[in-house]
Symmetry: C2
């Protein structure tokens, strides 16, 4: 029997209460775990809630209650949530959270505190919502050295990119549609500028490589700059454009970044559409795996939180998970030092001259044309594989030329050395 | 420290030894588990093997050795493997196996024996090779009632179907190609007639519904009957043809079957190609998830076996997994009682008359045409949704008519009530 308290009765917290209520019998018969929801902390009143008998506004009733074994934190942010989680761990209670901001900011400290107190600090719901990914990385792939991870980790941006591609709408129109449908928030920065994806790839990388990867220190680009024309070019190149959180072990260093990428249609990530998420992992024994599902939403996220609760209830002891090593910042490799290919669109005054210049400066480029719908005063091409640092110097040199008016787009390809499935 | 013995140094067994050897450090640093390979049982000699110091031909050296905690069975079949596994469990040793024939035949007995002896009997590698699916079903989805499972569970048939579709080759040509490339065995029955898929969907269903589903009692159809023309029609209907192992909870009963299905291209299973496997699971909280990866092969399978070993080494105690309830056979629903749609091709002497007859007997059918490459003396159509039992009666009645010479194909659609992702 495990006694649980939930901190914060918002979307996820009330979902967890509902999953426990609805599926208690299935949980018991399939896992043998007996879970009892004892208290819910929230400053608001919920007189109509089926859980109304369990509410308290007094945190002491949870932290000073010795009967409570597991504290579920679904408040969000790094204010009260951080204080409560520390207090719970110090009191020797297991903690389960869905709070990716908390884990990506204070993961090392909280994992260490949990280890010291011989309790669990679990956070399956932080990445990929209902998709099991943290437990598989920790357990199922425990026999592998992880070579890399690439994922569509944010449903809002994937929904927007899917609309843009399918309906030919521009970014702003697709964003408004996503906001109307509830897939994007009024202030969408967190999603569309890549911060949410950065936190998630940072958490996955920290687990995979056992080194703390700080989300604040990785290279982040969002999707504001992507246009419908970019999508048309992508289609010509048998690619789609996806916002990818990527990390890769390169010798002793880790490349971690968030950016829109051109993804070949033969890559399983290309067919992940709408609000769905998918995470590809490459291990040295298992080769490539992909995990696909709903990356957000009340019930999928609650399902992941509850799975963590069940794991604790079944094992009743610390699961021996390692804390994340906090090394110096030098473990992070910058995109500058990686070899890749770019797709480039230039606004030009003279197409022929600009193409000649581009060949001379960048090397063996291949032109991409939209055919009938070709645009006047624009050239588009794919660069050869080269270090990003070098490409930047070259494109700057090119842009200084009279024949080139502006750089419209430059988008990285997810292939060659960056691609986990080698296409 | 966990001491391991491997029974059978074939492809998988030698892979497990290799994974332990190569990744011991990664295993230790990521999971804290210390794994020591102590003995290998094989009747053959391997003087060149890096594990040569560990071999024995005497089973007593393993079963009577109290130091050995975990026995890995990678012999295969249900002869010696069954006897050895029983002996190991009786001796109070944990057992890990990759033997799906063993688990699908004797799972209930062996799980019960393991429970009695307070040891683990784990078999992640039995389904989906390196794809983590059994542990996610047991643990990550423990908070869900499972509504259904559908999967591409056999790499050989998926490779053959992919070749047929892409290159327009016929079944026999694609099968020979698969045999040449090592994807199909000399006697391919087990794979192409669906028995391998049946064992896997039976194991997954037994876990998901906590009721033993006997592979021998489920409806099985293989892919011998699929032609390249069927694939062309499928393409016209925006579908591909896949061999699907399917199970679904229908009230108190379980529908479990193996059959080629027409899968809509918008279903993520449709883009699973070549030798890859994928398993879609629908839970009442998490909604749909898909797990994708290499379903076979030495290292992926060894990775899954080793993950089971690590789980035991970390927990050092029985994980409280439930034994499978063995009910009466009535829990299995037959396809006859399920409502679905069929695609039908008929060889006819009179197209117009045959279409009229088909409409009259089967109801509101929709004709499918290959366009330019349309075949003389053939009609093709999609039936309305109806019970399979009723469809069978109708198609028999139709076939008795003079205008109809023969039934060329009838292929089920994976949509409507059968489809987990609701398309």
């Amino acid at each position: 029997m495990a006694n649980v308290a939930i901190l914060g009765y918002g979307v996820v917290g009330s979902g967890v209460a509902e999953v426990i209520r609805r599926n208690a019998q299935a949980i018991k018969s399939r896992s043998g775990a007996d879970i009892n929801l004892l208290k819910i902390l929230d400053i608001r009143d919920f007189p109509e809630s089926p859980d109304r008998g369990l509410f308290t506004k007094n945190a002491d009733e949870i932290f000073e209650n010795e009967k409570i074994d597991i504290v579920v934190e679904t408040i969000g942010g790094t204010g009260a949530a951080y204080e409560f989680v520390k207090r719970a761990l110090k009191k020797g209670k297991h903690v389960v959270t869905s709070n990716k901001e908390l884990v990506s900011s204070f993961g090392p400290q909280l994992l260490e505190m949990a280890e010291k107190m011989h309790v669990n600090f679990l956070f399956e719901a932080c990445v990929g919502g209902g998709i099991p990914i943290i437990r598989p990385l920790n357990q199922c792939l425990a026999a592998n050295e992880i070579a890399g991870i690439s994922g569509i980790l944010n449903g809002t941006t994937n929904y927007i990119l899917t609309r843009m591609r399918r309906e030919g709408t521009d970014f702003n129109v697709a964003l408004k549609d996503a906001q109307l449908k509830g897939y994007a928030e009024a202030d969408p920065t967190n999603d569309i500028d890549g911060y949410d994806t950065a936190r998630k790839i940072a958490i996955l990388s920290s687990i995979a490589y056992n080194e703390f990867v700080d989300a604040k220190k990785i290279h982040i680009e969002g999707i504001r700059g992507i246009s419908h024309e970019d999508m048309q070019y992508a289609d010509k190149m048998d690619c789609v454009i996806k916002l990818i959180g990527l990390s890769k072990k390169v010798e002793d260093k880790i490349l971690a970044m968030v950016s829109p990428f051109l993804v070949s249609k033969s890559n399983p990530l290309a067919s992940v559409e709408n609000e769905f998420n998918a995470i590809m992992v490459k291990g040295n024994a298992v080769d490539e795996l992909m995990f696909y599902g709903k990356g957000a939403g009340k019930m999928p996220t609650a399902s992941a939180v509850t799975a963590d609760i069940i794991e604790i209830a079944r094992n009743e002891k610390r699961n021996g998970k390692k804390v994340w090593h906090v090394g110096d910042n030098d473990i992070l490799l910058k995109p500058d030092d990686v070899e890749l290919k770019f797709f480039v669109r230039l606004e030009v005054s003279d197409k022929l001259e600009a193409m000649n210049l581009a060949s001379r400066i960048i090397g063996n480029i291949s032109e991409v044309s939209l055919g009938d719908s070709e645009v006047k005063n624009e050239i588009a091409f794919i660069t050869p594989v080269k270090k990003e640092k070098q490409f930047k110097v070259e494109i700057e040199k090119l842009a200084k030329n009279k024949a080139v008016k502006s750089v419209i787009s430059k988008i990285r390809f997810l292939n060659g050395s960056l691609n986990l499935n080698g296409q």
